[in-house]
Symmetry: D2
Subunit: 261 residues, 4 copies
């Protein structure tokens, strides 16, 4: 049985459902509105153990998933949300061994998730025009142990993509339509382009650019995720939900008529 | 440049957006409402090439993704839909190397997707009470080249799960609440349980069972996917959408108070 | 107790939930996939009575509401859906005594509903550029007994609106933005404009026109209605739903800065 | 041209879209985060006029609709939301002259809207078990000028409904299923029952009770309203929306087999 050790990152889930991602250090005390815990008391306990705060609130010491790690990143830019991440991973077919171009790196949320799936044999090439984002991404990827699966590149996808024969290109930039031709060059035959945009005008420009470049199976969706509050006799959906994060457009590289002759 | 060869499975996408997954055989002709094509004409062409039917309709010869393969499986049971698959993959954290228990095997849609992500170093243990489903799954997994990553097991998750220390247990059975205790035993500390159910009463029973067994971070969601019809000057959502496929409940293995002492 | 009489329109609701709006005539038999009924057998029965078809299917002889009447109109044009009608009635504040300009008349679905609410002391001024639509509307309004509350006008809202000081103007035309200035002139101070459009580009043009004309409280919404299949132990949302019918924009007449001085 | 007079209620809409419903009194100044206005400066102006706060923010002096009035009621109980109100009005067919039983009165939001539609020839019979709610409702109805169209009754719909032959019964109580038989007695033939409930368990009980009493055309829906942020080049849905307010069940009074013989 693997137990919690000093230096581990532990996700504490409170009885009210709040989550705290904390590094276990001896002698450190963590204060919250539900009381405090001494972090070293969980050393030697199995993940999933329950502990009590000084005020009697019961918390679970959970093992953080990669998603817990990225959701804990301070949000320096608009991030890609979990409901959209799963769809992107599935539709791009990205997995172990895939080679993926992605940008902008931004807060490195999508970068980290892609790195998690392509590891240990694939690679993410992540572009950003801001060096600050790249430096930040480097630290974040190191922390979660995925640094080696990402090549961080200072560059602009609308100017140039250096890679060739990649499995997927994922665009999370303000003008994705300007990167469509570059993405086509970078993709292997049958490769997948994914574009993530908050506004409908960006979607229209991008879809028209994809059509002009010959891409096939161009599909734009939005995903709504609704959480249920489940309790016998009182079950109902939560009051609020995200009405919108981004539109996701997917397309397959294809050739225009006559392009190959 | 990798080209289409005899024996390949090719996804033909018609100008109307219809998709046909066809095996390329010399001398075979495929007829559709948009005209016919001779399958061998694409041999030697790169994926993404465009061809014309005898009536002048232009089709793309696309490389099928794993999702295209499973959506082409004849539907012998209710399947898990793409909008839900991506979420399940993401929330379970399943990837290269993961060990996952899953059942019922059913039409093997979820089984195949899980195998795709755990390959080449992980394993899916897929249970079903109907031997017919298992035999069918065997054939399907072989066809898509993922047979070796799945152990097909004749058994009932509500009776017994033989594996231990698995990363995730994914329940797609009529009475998931009866499998919750077994799933807890099978999961490693910090492991993830996912349950997929069409009715709200199943969700209530399952969530109450998860609470009773000490699971943490129990969350039930439903995912709505809406497709946009994008064309400059005429952009709008599609008229119809799936209003419901299934509720998805996720939870983390944790111990009840006092359970470990 | 008011009973069903010859000549009445009765809404028959079958055991499978199908609805047939039929006029009761002696000696008439109605055939369906659930058997036939003789229409005169319900004469003298109270509304809400149950009858059996020759094959034993049980139907309810219900009193049709105005909504049943309009949903039974043959659909010569795209109609406004119930989920949107209720919102339009509420947001426009249209009721007994209101004076409302509306167009295009189209299939007269919205016209009829507005007439139902403004009666017996208000008036709907309904414009259409196609005389065929107006003639059709005349017949439909007569049939449902609301003819006197509607003035059907051959005209184009983008060219001219003759009325003044109306409570609301409701636009269901292809280029609503071209009618915004006319609508402002027609509206009383504080009057409400409602515009119904299927595409996002129409919405953008219309909202920008409303801003330019000084309208206040400009709001665009879309309404999703999801039906539940309720049965103890098997409760869940229906499989399919309308993903989109139309965007609805509402605004209040207001003056531009300096317009009144 | 009707102008704003002392004593009028005016809805001020700020440049940020905030709304303040204020009574116009001479010498009164209203302070907000966008500056202050002297209320008497709008006396003599037409509705829809624009005024400036001392800090230069431009506000519109709008004529309040009935919906603005009820949304301004202090929320002493959970209210019925606009997206649901429109649907209820439409599906119940309530209009000028209708006789409607409703309860609980609660914050009188639904009561007021119903009174608005049945006026000037109909009547709302509104029941509540708490006298405080009834007294509060009385004041609110007087303020908006609809007092005479409502009979406020101290009573419990699950115990007794005194009216007969009403057009609609609208239940917004914790145990609507216990009022179903009383509602059936109160309704005229073909009358409509509407039930509003936040939880799915309430819906299941109510639908089963409706079936048992012979009601026809039993339908449960939920309505999602999504707002768009429309601005050329930046158009997209708002970030947040209500995921749930209430399920709405509608049904038509009908007789059980053999009930009339």
């Amino acid at each position: 049985m693997e137990v919690i050790e000093e230096g581990d990152k532990v996700l504490f889930i409170t009885s009210k459902g709040k989550k705290y991602l904390l590094e276990i250090r001896r002698g450190k005390r963590f204060h919250s509105s539900e009381g405090y815990i001494d972090l070293d008391q969980v050393i030697g306990m199995p993940y999933g153990s329950r502990i009590k705060t000084n005020t009697g609130s019961t918390w679970v010491a959970a093992r953080p998933l990669i998603l817990d790690r990225v959701l804990n990143f301070p949000r320096i830019t608009q991030i890609v949300y979990p409901k959209d991440l799963g769809y992107i991973v599935l539709m791009s077919g990205v997995r172990c061994g895939s080679r993926v171009v992605e940008g902008g790196t931004g807060a490195a949320v999508l970068t980290t998730i892609l790195a998690y799936y392509v590891a240990p044999t694939g690679k993410v090439y992540s572009y950003d025009v801001e060096e600050g984002h790249l430096k930040n991404a480097e630290k974040r990827l190191e922390k979660v142990g995925l640094r080696e699966f990402v090549e961080l590149k200072h560059g602009d996808l609308t100017k140039q993509i250096e890679e060739r024969d990649v499995d997927a290109v994922i665009l999370d930039i303000p003008t994705p339509w300007l990167a469509v031709a570059n993405a086509k060059q970078a993709l292997k035959d049958g490769g997948i382009l994914v574009s993530i945009s908050p506004t409908i005008e960006q979607v229209i420009e991008t879809v028209e650019a994809l059509r002009a470049e010959g891409f096939a199976d161009i599909t734009t969706v939005e995903i709504l995720l609704r959480t249920l509050r489940v309790k016998r006799g009182m079950t109902r959906p939560e009051h609020l939900m995200h009405a919108h994060t981004a539109y996701i457009t997917t397309a397959r590289k294809a050739y225009k008529e006559g392009e190959l002759s």
